[in-house]
């Protein structure tokens, strides 16, 4: 799925390059007829729009799926120790204790 979306994105980018090349050719044509440049020709605008749509879809699909952040959802059930043993975070019942913000060092 990611590879298909990637090819779609590359294809969209190629369409954009082709549209850029068409616009450059159009501008050199305008230089010959000495007209002003107001907007690219209609088919270039359509091409840009299609390229933008394809890249839009690819941009939303290629980076991957969203993962649920609920700690109790069914897809978050597997628990494993973190690779770095120096920093481990646990979800234990200590969270019901109120947070004491005025702890002082007893000496």
């Amino acid at each position: 799925m990611a590879v298909a979306a990637l090819t779609v994105g590359v294809f969209g980018a190629l369409i954009l390059f082709h549209a850029a090349y068409s616009t450059i050719q159009y501008k050199s044509l305008l230089k010959i007829t000495e007209d002003e440049f107001t907007a690219p020709p209609f088919n270039v605008v359509i091409e840009l729009f299609i390229g933008l749509l394809l890249c839009f879809w690819a941009a939303l699909t290629v980076p991957g799926k969203f993962l649920s952040i609920h700690p109790h959802s069914d897809e978050n059930r597997i628990v494993s120790l973190p690779a770095n043993l120096d920093f481990m975070i646990f979800n234990h019942r200590g969270k019901v204790f109120p947070l004491e913000t005025d702890l002082k060092l007893k000496h």
Partner: protein, 120 residues
Amino acid sequence: MAGHSGSGSSDKKSSNGVNELLTFNAENMQSNMKIIYYSRTFLSIIGGVVAGILGFTGLKGFVFYALLMAFTSLGLVAKAKFSIHTYFDSWNRVLIDGFLGGLMSFVLFWTFAYDIAHIF
């Protein structure tokens, strides 16, 4: 039972137990934020190229960028299947985050494409 298979799906940001959603899986949250960032940056670049080829100058380009970001937000909300709270902790993250960072990429590629298509 538990093995060293990858990093832990552990939790962070616990509260005093009143609000359930304050405890969430931070690693997945970060992964979701990365996805949003990549999507927005890529679309800013593509939008910059399109704006440059179309010949937008001045305010029209920024309006185009705002429209593009609005559509991106819509697309991201649709990707999250409209239930934001399953994947993020607040609406701001999916709607507003990455807006200004993408703006710089947009302007860069906008000027780049405009130069290539219209000046040289």
